[in-house]
């Protein structure tokens, strides 16, 4: 098993110059997400029944930072949300990506790349659905019309899970590998910046965005030692 410790410690303020000759209408939030270890006991090992083989894919090859979503909470967004279309692939008995953030009204495709049947279902209050079983090469899609956390599972393979964050505004991002993130084009104002991780939940911080300026903020998420 991987021992995951994110140790990106440098604090870099990123200044983005406004376009010459034009006064910027919006501001920027930039910063770092730091995943800190929080060791909480150890999971009980099982000698009885081998963990189910999950094929060649090692799910931990995706850096944990990619399972973090940074977004603004309760940010009022005027106008229609731009609907997007994303993909949540089923590959090597794993949902890829593990965490997906979309705007309300967007559609997600669930293509099956495995040589076996898969299923996609959710019990979440934001979207309760079951796409039934379908074989390799097929794809089903689901449109999410309600904001919230949607946990997605496969009822054939109980070890498969993914999370789709359905958000009311487009101000969200997934940090880069080094933990840095940037939310551009924000109307000035005071916001609640949230760093979210599946097992940690939300970590909030208040941030003030001024016109033409970049506010910097660092988030720390205590991710459990997963060993």
């Amino acid at each position: 098993m991987r021992r995951y410790v994110v140790s990106i410690a440098s604090l870099v303020a990123v200044f983005i110059a406004a376009p010459r000759g034009q006064a910027p209408e919006t501001g920027i939030i930039a910063g770092h997400v730091k995943l800190t270890p929080r060791i909480k006991g150890r999971a009980l090992p099982s000698t009885a029944y081998p963990t189910r083989a999950v094929g060649a894919h090692d799910p931990t090859s995706v850096p944990e930072i990619k399972n973090v979503v940074v977004y603004l909470k309760n940010a009022a967004f005027r106008g229609a949300l731009p609907p997007t279309r994303s993909e949540l692939r089923q590959e090597h008995e794993t949902f890829l990506p593990h965490v997906l953030a979309i705007t309300r009204g967007s559609t997600v495709d669930f293509p099956n790349d495995d040589p076996i049947f898969h299923n996609v279902f959710s019990l979440s209050s934001a979207a309760t659905f079951d796409l039934r079983r379908y074989p390799r090469g097929q794809s089903r899609s689901q449109t999410f019309t309600k904001a919230g956390i949607v946990k997605v599972f496969c009822n054939i393979h109980s070890h498969m899970s993914a999370t789709i964050l359905v958000l009311d505004n487009p101000y969200f991002t997934i940090p880069a590998l080094d933990g840095s993130f940037e939310l551009p084009h924000l109307p000035p104002g005071e916001y609640l910046l949230v760093g979210w991780h599946e097992r940690v939940g939300e970590r909030q911080s208040t941030v003030r965005v001024e016109r033409g300026k970049t506010a910097t903020i660092d988030l720390s998420l205590p991710v459990e030692d997963l060993q």
Binding site: P45, S46, P59, K151, H159
Partner: protein
């Protein structure tokens, strides 16, 4: 003066007593030996039984735990259960109660399905903080939502643990619910209540009594209450793995079947109880054997007693017959039953032979003495010399003619020899007087039979001869003396001697006359037959006379 002596017991009773005593002692020894050996054997067998129970239980238990884990692991892969749990945890903070209760309903439903497929008292789902989220199964209500479950121990590397909850002790097999990314969302506990029902089941499988002790306290047992308390106390002070101890007066062998942390499962076998059954069986067999042995002993001693007593009884009967008839000449027959008894019989016969010889000697001496006395009397008068001898010979000859028995002839012989013994009291002058006896003198002579009888009475040996001496002058017509008896009242022996006396008197010379010839004497006798003499006796004399010889070889007729 001698104290009253009890009669000794019969031989049979003695042999019976000796045999029964011997058999009883043997049986007692056998009983003691059998009891001791049964005690040892039962102890060994109970201990061995516990050992095999322990091995079997340990093997079964390992397998059972592995199977439970396998089952639990499979159940932990229930996609709906996991999805509901994961979704619930993701939404716990944000969702409405309605949504949460719906998720819980899903979790509860899935858990119930799981519980229905597994042999477990309760299936419990706990979150990452060891708090109960949901429970199902027979004892599900013992695990209320939100209650944390603390495992008091868990063996390294396994999910085997003990939890104390709500007054109960549970054995727990735990499996995590996790996803492919390694994230654990909860733990599924399969719990088994360590209660009396479990102890009973364990007892049934192990074939022994069982007790479960957790942290020094008795959780459940199939022991009687009092013995259970003592076992608990004994185990609290020192945790023994195996041994033998007495609880509430009953000896138990015990052995720890398996230990999970501070909780131990014991199997106990009552040595006393096992002994009782075996002992009862052994005693029944011993009883039958004893009965058979006693029966054989009875037969044996009766046979032995009869072997000994019968020949002795035979001898004793023969002796009693000999004693009754004063028979010293008979000889006891040899029984041939045993060397000792035959030797005794021969010795007795030898003794009787010598007694008979001694008796014959004694009688010969008596007879000799009496004859000498009679001859001495006869010698007082030269004319009557040899008279008594001759009368005796004649009387025997007459008696033989009359077919008297040998005994009667012997009585006649001696009686005739003594018939005139009373004349010892008659003076010589009167006896020798040739003729002219006065009446007084004749009365004196007539006294001699009574006098003779009186003399003989003082000698018991001579008692049979008294009638001859006393009555040899009685006549059939009743004119005889001393009693004047008549006819058949006069004894035969006396009649014989009367005739012989008269014959000899007539054929002998007297001082006053010469001897008459035999024929004349016979004629005289015939003349007086019926009055003075009995006719049949005279007839017998006449028949006998030709064969009569005296000691000197002369015949009576020859002398005439």
């Amino acid at each position: 003066m001698s104290a009253v002596r009890a009669r000794p017991p019969r031989l049979l009773f003695k042999t019976l007593a000796v045999t029964f005593a011997t058999v009883s002692i043997i049986l007692v020894i056998v009983f003691v030996v059998v009891s001791i050996s049964i005690g040892d054997q039962v102890r060994e067998s109970v201990t061995a039984n516990l050992e095999s129970s322990q091995r079997m239980f340990a093997a079964l238990e390992t397998r059972r735990q592995r199977e439970l884990l396998a089952q639990a692991s499979t159940l932990a892969e229930n996609p709906t259960l996991k999805a509901a749990l994961d979704t619930y945890q993701a939404e716990a903070r944000t969702s409405s109660e309605a949504v949460k209760s719906q998720l819980f309903a899903t979790i509860d439903g899935e858990l119930r399905k799981v519980a229905a497929t597994i042999e477990s008292d309760a299936v419990v789902l706990v979150d990452m903080h060891q708090s109960t989220l949901a429970a199902a199964g027979r004892m599900g209500e013992r695990f209320p939502r939100g209650r944390p479950i603390a495992l008091s121990n868990s063996r390294e590397g396994t999910f085997d643990g003990i939890a104390r909850l709500g007054g109960g002790v549970f054995r727990i097999v735990a499996v995590p619910l996790h996803y492919g990314d390694g994230a654990t969302v909860g733990t599924l506990y399969l719990t088994t209540s360590l209660d009396t029902a479990y102890a009973d089941e364990l007892a049934r499988l192990a074939g022994t009594k069982t007790a479960i002790i957790s942290d020094g306290l008795m959780v459940a047992s199939t022991l009687p209450a009092a013995a259970g308390r003592e076992f608990e106390a004994a185990m609290a002070s020192n945790r023994l793995v195996a041994g033998t101890k007495t609880f509430n007066g009953e000896t138990y062998a015990f052995r720890r079947l398996v230990a999970v942390g501070d909780t131990a499962f014991y199997a106990l076998g009552s040595i006393d109880e096992s002994s009782r059954g075996v002992m009862r069986q052994a005693m029944r067999n011993l009883g039958f054997t004893a009965l058979g042995a006693m029966g054989l002993a009875l037969l044996g001693s009766i046979t032995l007693a009869r072997l000994l007593a019968d020949p002795i009884g035979e001898l004793s009967t023969s002796l009693a017959r000999m004693a009754a008839t004063h028979d010293v000449t008979s000889r006891l027959p040899l029984t041939g039953s045993s060397l000792e008894i035959d030797a005794l019989t021969e010795t007795f016969n030898d003794l009787m032979t010598s007694v008979a010889l001694a008796e014959a000697d004694t009688e010969a001496a008596y007879t000799g003495a009496i004859r000498a006395l009679a001859m001495a009397l006869d010698a007082r008068d030269p004319y009557t010399a040899g008279h008594s001898d001759r009368v005796s010979v004649l009387s025997v000859a007459i008696g033989r003619t009359l077919s008297l028995s040998a005994e009667d002839l012997e009585v006649v012989r001696l009686g005739a020899l003594l018939h005139d013994i009373g004349k010892i009291g008659v003076p010589d002058a009167v006896l020798r007087k040739a003729s002219g006896l006065t009446a007084a003198e004749f009365d004196l002579i007539k006294e001699h039979p009574v006098l003779g009888a009186r003399i003989l009475r003082s000698v018991p040996f001579l008692a049979p001869h008294i009638p001859i001496v006393e009555l040899h002058h009685e006549r059939p017509d009743g004119r005889g003396y001393p009693n004047g008896l008549s006819g058949d009242d006069i004894p035969l022996a006396a009649r014989i001697v009367h005739v012989a006396d008269a014959y000899d008197a007539m054929t002998s010379a007297r001082a006053y006359r010469g001897a008459r010839p035999s024929g004349e004497a016979l004629r005289e006798l015939w003349r007086c037959a019926g009055t003075e003499f009995h006719a049949d006796i005279v007839g017998a004399l006449a028949t006998a006379l030709p064969g009569v010889t005296y000691d000197d070889g002369d015949t009576v007729l020859a002398r005439v």
